[in-house]
């Protein structure tokens, strides 16, 4: 079973949810404190959602300087899988592990609701259990989820197929605006050039249980296990 380190910043608030979802698929998951400098032989690192430092100044701006982030950088540089969820995605962008930035939602309000996304990259450590172009319904809950990047960066992301998740309209009669935050190209998640670092705005850990009404998120966790067993 993979060893999954969930990094806990002082203002993380999805750390335990994420830990539980990882444990739910049998992973050997544990919390790592942001002041630690060692990931304790993690196979996979997850930066969970929350408000790492209150998200004061900019989301993720202060967290990127936490001591543990150097270890995360090394882990990523060595090809180790890293997943940033929501605030984790914001931190990965601030830390330059992913391109672009996540700005205030275009509607200016926090938005908490389920959205539909399609999986466009089913070959990362976190999406290999999904079929290509499959649709998922996942909750989002964020104030700063509008992905922006310079025009050539965006072109590169598209050309290299680095959009992992994209917001889509559910059906013809859908009650949803496909894009909850005004993200460029409806981007909900991206990965780095090597595909080992993934950042997504929706919360798969809140959609991994029938009782909670949504189950589409569990693939993110089972994928880690699948990949680990294959390697």
């Amino acid at each position: 079973m993979p060893r999954v380190a969930v990094v806990r910043f002082p203002g993380s608030n999805c750390d335990l949810d994420t830990l539980r979802a990882a444990e739910g698929v049998g992973a050997d998951a544990y919390l790592v404190w942001h002041r630690d400098t060692d990931l304790r032989d993690a196979d996979v690192v997850i930066l969970p959602g929350g408000f790492s430092y209150g998200d004061y100044l900019r989301s993720g701006a202060i967290a990127r300087f936490s001591p543990i982030m150097q270890a995360v950088q090394r882990h990523a540089a060595a090809g180790g899988p890293v997943l940033g969820i929501c605030n984790g995605f914001q931190i990965l962008c601030e830390a330059d592990l992913l391109p672009g930035a996540l700005l205030r939602n275009a509607g200016l309000s926090f938005v908490s609701k389920p959205v539909d996304v399609i999986v466009e990259r089913p070959d990362t450590a976190f999406t290999c259990d999904y079929d290509s172009d499959c649709r998922l319904r996942l909750p989002v809950a964020h104030g700063d989820g509008r992905f922006v990047a310079a025009p050539d960066t965006l072109r590169m992301l598209e050309a290299e197929g680095r959009v992992v998740l994209r917001y889509v309209a559910a059906t013809e009669r859908s009650p949803f605006q496909p894009n909850p935050n005004g993200s460029a190209n409806h981007i909900a998640g991206i990965c780095n050039a090597d595909g080992n670092v993934v950042g997504i705005m929706p919360h798969p850990e809140r959609a991994a249980d029938r009782l909670l009404g949504l189950t589409g998120g569990s693939g993110f966790f089972t994928s880690m296990v699948t990949l680990h067993q294959d390697s």
């Binding site: 002082p10 203002g11 608030n13 999805c14 335990l16 949810d17 539980r20 979802a21 959602g49 929350g50 408000f51 430092y53 209150g54 998200d55 004061y56 309000s109 926090f110 938005v111 908490s112 609701k113 389920p114 909750p139 809950a141 104030g143 559910a170 059906t171 009669r173 859908s174 009650p175 949803f176 919360h203 850990e205 809140r206 991994a208 249980d209 009782l211 909670l212 009404g213």
Partner: protein, 766 residues
Amino acid sequence: MVAGAVTDAVSLTGEPAVTPALVREHSLNEMEYARIVELLGRTPTFTELGVFSALWSEHCSYKHSRPVLKTFPTTGPHVVQGPGENAGVLRLPEGWAVAFKIESHNHPSAVEPYQGAATGVGGILRDVFTMGARPVALLNSLRFGPLEEPRNRYLFAGVVRGVGDYGNCVGVPTLGGEVNFAPGYSGNPLVNAMCVGLLRENELIRAAAQGVGNVLLVVGARTGRDGIHGASFASEELSEKSEARRPQVQVGDPFTEKLLLEASLELITSGLIVAIQDMGAAGLTSSSAEMAARGGVGVEIDTSLVPTREPDMTPYEILLSESQERMLIVAEPHRLPEIQSVCIRWELTATPIGHVTDDGVFRVRHDGQTVVAIPGQRLVDDCPVYLPEAKEGEEARSRRATVDPGAPVVDLEGALEMLLDHPNIASKRWVYEQYDSTVQASTVLPPGSDAGVIRVPGARFGLAMTIDCNSRLVSLDPYEGGKAAVAEAARNLACTGARPLGLTDCLNFGNPERPEVFFQFRESARGISDACRVFGTPVTGGNVSFYNESPRGAIDPTPTIGMVGLLSRVEDRVGSHFDSARDEVFIIGETSGILGGSAYWAEVCDFVGGDPPAVDLEAELQLQRFLVAAAEQRMLRSAHDCSEGGLAVTLAEAAMGGPYVPGSLGACLDLTGYAPDVPVDGVLYGEDGARAVVTCAPLQITRLIALANEHGVPVFHAGRVESAGTLELQVGAHLFSWSTDALRRIYSEAIPRRMQHTAVDRMAGE
């Protein structure tokens, strides 16, 4: 007779002399001041005057409400902690317990909606985690004047953002609430926040100072000049003058709150501390004095040790500051190093500022001088209690006596559209989408159903919660309105399949010194009590907010009820929207057709008045029991209670479906035999209680009817759910037909349409 001074204390140089004018400015009357002098055996010092002013304010002392609150039933086999602590606690299965409490932040929100609401949420979270409980859900009840006025839109937008930003950052899901608009709240909005927490019953901690020599520590934010006199400010009417007396606005810091939450729970579960109390209204003064009184001990505090945000703060200011995100802790001295290390890990400071004493005196020193020395128990106990005159107002009486509201402005079919477009009935999605409702990954029924439901990881049971009050009913008939609020809350829980356990109340009223206001207060409390006795749901705590008046007059009386309920098996929970086509539709309960106090009269006939239907508590209880039993036996596909807007609104809401389903369902129903003697408007829009619309699979029809008969609840088989999006309703000779997609558009656009240009109303904060 004036005895000799108990102990001495001095005013500091530069502090004003205590004169009658100064006493009045501190909102203390002559009798109260005389009592202070008698109690001390001397003139109070300036700082002592501030302390009395805060602790003897209505907000802290409950001087106009205590005798009435004493009449609430507060006991029961599952009550672990009743009123008197930061939050009430009820026993749950499997070693768990639930701590919950509601609190108002009305006046601060009227002045600064964003920060007022945010700090309200912060305060109620602290009340719950100081009990050793982890907050697992928030709810809120909000009232504003009509959205046609820009100021009301500004307040509404700011409050919702403030509530959301704070809870979202701390990471506690908002599971429900209510929002209501009526002219009486223009100028005096209501912001009531409720928090629900979970704890292992054996980890409960109480806020009583104990152990002479034990140390007092402040943990968390530094003390600034914010909110000085907030408690007395909250105890007066809002007027032009209050603009000037307005205390410095308190700014919330949810990140520090989150750190405090984690540090406090760690300190409590590791057994490192003796007691803990948050610093809410009247800050250090009330937290330390109340903790001492609860423990029957004295305390000595040195205010010069308190970490301050600004230089040169006086003991008066330090004692009365309402800076947020601070805790007071009592601990044994040898635990200090361990406590410090927990706090440091959470980036907080813990500073010793005093200790527990054996002489029962509340003593404060500053730079070596004693500035406060008051017999502690008497400081809390000797506050005068008033039992004001109560008399029903003429206006309420004559409104209630009216039987003819005047002509409706649209026909019966159009009335449903009009009601669904009214912000009081319309979808509150605009509000709850700004609140994180799924963090903690435990939300089983999110906002949008009759009650919120969460699961508890590792446990079998589920916890349901709701917050309710129909203030129109209370204003017309406070006794029946009080009963109705409890009944509605209990019914909402029961519709999800949960058995009501107990409640917390937030009693929002005008000036209690006016007889018609005190009548509303006393009578609605009596209604609440009676309902609680019948339902077996004790009151475990609450909050009173008086003086909710603006130059335009008093608010509608609003005794908000926050209630929790238990699902023995969480997976049995029932949603409130129709589930699938071909399910069978039943109406449970009887309709008298009385339209007094209804939304139909208020909105469609433009008349607030009439005599509302009396609340039949026995019928309510039978309905609750039936709903819970039906859920436990897994008979129900949906259950939705009837309240504002009556049966027509209930059916429309159920058919339109939840906020995120791809399309609406419909239904084909025949109500002809249901209430044959009742006029059609009464059948559609009457607001009798003890009713619900439920659906079941076709195979369950006989079982469901048998179960209803067994529980003695009237049951009527009305028809079935259809996949076509039409709601068809036959009532005698009348056939009504609505497109549910069209209704859904009206229902979901009503509030966003009115809030389109909030930025124009004033861009508040970032």
